[in-house]
């Protein structure tokens, strides 16, 4: 079963530092996503990426956030200057063509702790 791989699994960073969360989506998928889940809360959409550009972003995804797919394999989320409230579990997900009757494949997540 193909998997979405995320690294690192845990990251602790100082407030104000930049972090890059990495993901390797499933190779033949077309749509890529970042979601986050603050501890004990629901899973929130951050951004979707298709055809090498952002297709939609949420209000959470402000100027401090950026995404890249630098080499056709990796998909990264960068937070330029982390804040305490950025502490959360970040999930990468990918999916294929619409209406194939399959859901999204999520990675195991990166737990980001900002101190």
């Amino acid at each position: 079963e193909p998997e979405v791989t995320q690294t690192p699994s845990h990251q602790v960073t100082q407030m104000g530092q930049e972090v890059i969360l990495r993901c390797v989506p499933i190779s033949n998928h077309l749509y890529f996503y970042w979601y986050r889940q603050i501890l004990g809360q629901k899973v929130e959409f951050l951004v979707s990426f298709y055809n090498n550009e952002i297709s939609e972003k949420s209000e959470i995804f402000d100027d401090q956030f950026s995404v890249e797919r630098p080499d056709g394999s990796n998909f990264t989320l960068k937070i330029r200057s982390t804040k305490l409230e950025d502490s959360a579990m970040y999930f990468c997900a990918s999916t294929g063509l619409r209406d194939r009757g399959r859901g999204y494949t999520f990675g195991s997540g990166t737990r980001l702790t900002v101190v």
């Binding site: 859901g103 999204y104 999520f106």
Partner: protein, 112 residues
């Protein structure tokens, strides 16, 4: 907002009993999906039901969808201790970009 509420927020039952979780949403959708999350882990896709479907089965899972009421239910039959997890419904609407919008989730505990 596309998503509504799930209920109950928490459910605790005995092993062997059936567990039913409900989900409501606010706008029209293309499909509704259910995901499972073990504590602190990733989300695992369980089942997808399209907007023109009313019921779907997969193993011990049964999902219903009532688009007139904008609601769905997930039934897990003959529950096992290993079913203990959080369960989330998520709706997908193909308006421009496609994305999933998640509900609050139901925390299910199966007592042995």
């Amino acid at each position: 907002s596309q998503q509504g509420e799930e209920d109950p927020q928490a459910l605790s039952i005995q092993e062997g009993e059936n567990a039913t979780m409900n989900c409501s949403y606010k706008t029209s959708i293309n499909n509704l999906q259910w995901y499972r999350q073990n504590s602190g882990r990733g989300l695992v896709h369980l089942i997808l039901i399209r907007s023109n479907e009313r019921e779907k089965h997969s193993g011990r899972l049964r999902v219903t969808l009532d688009t007139s009421k904008k609601s769905s239910s997930l039934l897990i039959t003959a529950s096992r201790a290993a079913d203990t997890a959080s369960y989330f419904c998520a709706t997908e609407k193909w308006q421009g970009a496609q994305k999933l919008v998640f509900g609050q989730g139901t925390r299910l505990t199966i007592n042995p």
